[in-house]
Amino acid sequence: MGVGIRVTNLNAWYGDNHTLQDINLHMPANNATALIGPSGCGKSTFVRCLNRMHETNPIARATGSVMMGDLDIYKDASPVEVRRRVGMVFQRPNPFPTMSIYDNVASGLRLNGFRNRRVLDEVVERSLRSAALWDEVKDDLKRKSGASISGGQQQRLCIARALAVDPEVLLMDEPASALDPVSTSKIEDLIFQLKSQYTIVIVTHNMQQAARVAENTGFFLNGKMIEFAATHKIFTNPTDKRTEDYITGRFG
């Protein structure tokens, strides 16, 4: 089961660059929320604030509050604790190349000291099945490197790796932008299934993708959240002129 995320007055900086300004929104549990907007508008920074990855850059900082369920991730938990509960999938697939497929999926659990072989086997299979990759790799689990499979498979492997630690929230930063159309549609199907169990936040450049997978959509522009509403409303009847201009392709 996922948890809802409530963001209040979130501000973020890279050096002197104020990349996120007063973001307020509520993302309901077990829904997919899409974030759209032109490059450099702050949507990636926003998701990186949701697992405190933003602050790994030495010049970056953030203020405000992010509640995941009852947990204020900036007050009540360390970054490491937060990231154990929030999975993340990046734009470019980043499996560990020196590990087998099996070890990649198991890496999150092993990292935290989980050693039970039998349970690990189960978790690896379940995660790979959830990521729709099991049938393609089940014969080479321990033989093939995580980097030896195709780009689309690598991205699904990264999703499986994130799911293996049973996160409450899954963040996806343009998960399909480096993939071909077939892999992209597989990932979209996947998001559609996964959102029954996880709260998903997905950044995308592809507006059709947002329309296909997300209940709610937020439009970002120049570090501000311009509009946040039900996806069909954003795409059919946006309130803000700038949202309308963006989705009709007049800029961005």
Partner: protein, 342 residues
């Protein structure tokens, strides 16, 4: 885009470029077509580069040949037993290389044992934790260590390290680890352990700078992959960085080992130069390189000289063997895994 009235050489060139639409080929096309197939240039370049790389084989083969030729008298006299005989007695004409091989291997491996963890620690600190303004100066300092001539290290060891070993480190090791038998007997301050320590200091900058280099080359995305799974900083370094950099790190270690095996001056000054094999690391030893440097000028008689040449051959073989073993180890560990992170 059309030149308008201004007459300059640039304009002239520009109009020459545009002459193509009149039917005659443009200046650039004529020029490029006039260059021919360039097959000779490519072929020459290829052969020249091949010659460069072949020269390496030639040099190695030549050295090996000279060493074998120079040591033929000794090889003839002692045969293979030369490499496992413990006596080195120039007066009675008995020569065996085993104490020197032992000294070289033990001092180098001990040096690695001390230098590798330290070097990796330095590299991890520099790439992952060091505040940016300090990164440059500290890297520069570690690399400066590599530029100090070895005789200076030797002098420093004689005047600083040896008394320190004799009065403080040695007695402490005897008290705490004396029961192992590796730290016993008479401690003069010079000996195998002192030589290993100075070797460790000398190879530290090589290993740490190469390790730093390969760690920097590991993409940020690998670090983020580990962090996103809830890794602590050390776990991130372990699975996201060191694991990906391990082949390069072993490369750095092999380079350091190469220097340790062949290092002569500093070792000669502190190892005690006594051809013996002792369990205690306080005891003096001798290395292949040291004995050549020490005794070459006073070698009287053809057999003595020939034996020293064979010591050189032994050093040559030990170096090749150790390197081959190290490569084999890397190959065995990383089989199936790609050599680089995409």
């Amino acid at each position: 885009m059309q030149p308008q009235g201004m007459v300059s050489s640039a304009d002239a060139a520009a109009s020459a470029l545009e002459a193509g639409d009149g039917g005659s080929p443009s200046l650039i096309r004529t020029f490029l077509q006039g260059r021919g197939s360039s097959a000779v240039a490519d072929g020459t370049f290829r052969n020249l580069m091949m010659l460069c790389s072949l020269s390496i084989f030639a040099i190695v083969a030549f050295i090996a040949w000279e060493l074998v030729k120079g040591s033929s008298a000794s090889i003839h006299e002692f045969g293979f037993a030369f490499f496992r005989t413990e006596t080195w007695d120039p007066v009675s004409g008995e020569f065996g290389a085993w104490p020197f091989i032992y000294g070289t291997l033990v001092s180098s491996l001990l040096a690695l044992l001390m230098a590798v963890p330290l070097a990796i620690g330095v590299a991890v600190f520099l790439t992952e934790m060091c505040p940016r303004p300090l990164r440059g100066p500290i890297s520069f300092l570690t690399e400066l260590l590599a530029a100090i001539p070895s005789v200076v290290y030797g002098l420093w060891a004689v005047f600083v390290l040896v008394p320190l070993m004799r009065d403080h480190i040695g007695p402490f090791l005897l008290k705490t680890l004396g029961w192992t038998g590796f730290f016993g007997g008479y401690n003069m301050g010079i000996g195998m352990l002192t030589a290993s320590i100075i070797l460790a200091i000398m190879i530290l900058p090589i290993i740490s700078s190469i390790t730093r280099e390969v760690m920097t080359a590991v993409p940020i995305s690998q670090r983020e992959a580990a962090l996103a799974l809830g890794a602590t900083r050390w776990e991130m370094v372990r699975i996201g960085v060191l694991r990906n950099a391990r082949i390069g790190i072993v490369g750095g270690v092999i380079l350091g080992l190469g220097r340790a095996l062949g290092e002569t001056m500093a070792v000669t000054m502190v190892i005690g130069n006594s051809p013996q094999i002792a369990k205690s690391l306080f005891a003096p030893g001798y290395t292949l390189a040291s004995v050549i440097a020490n005794e070459f000028s006073e070698a009287t008689g053809d057999l003595y000289l020939s034996a020293l040449m064979e010591i050189g051959l032994a050093l040559f073989l030990v170096t090749i063997l150790v390197n081959a073993l190290a490569r084999l180890l890397v190959w065995a560990v990383t089989r199936g895994a790609p050599a680089r992170v995409a």
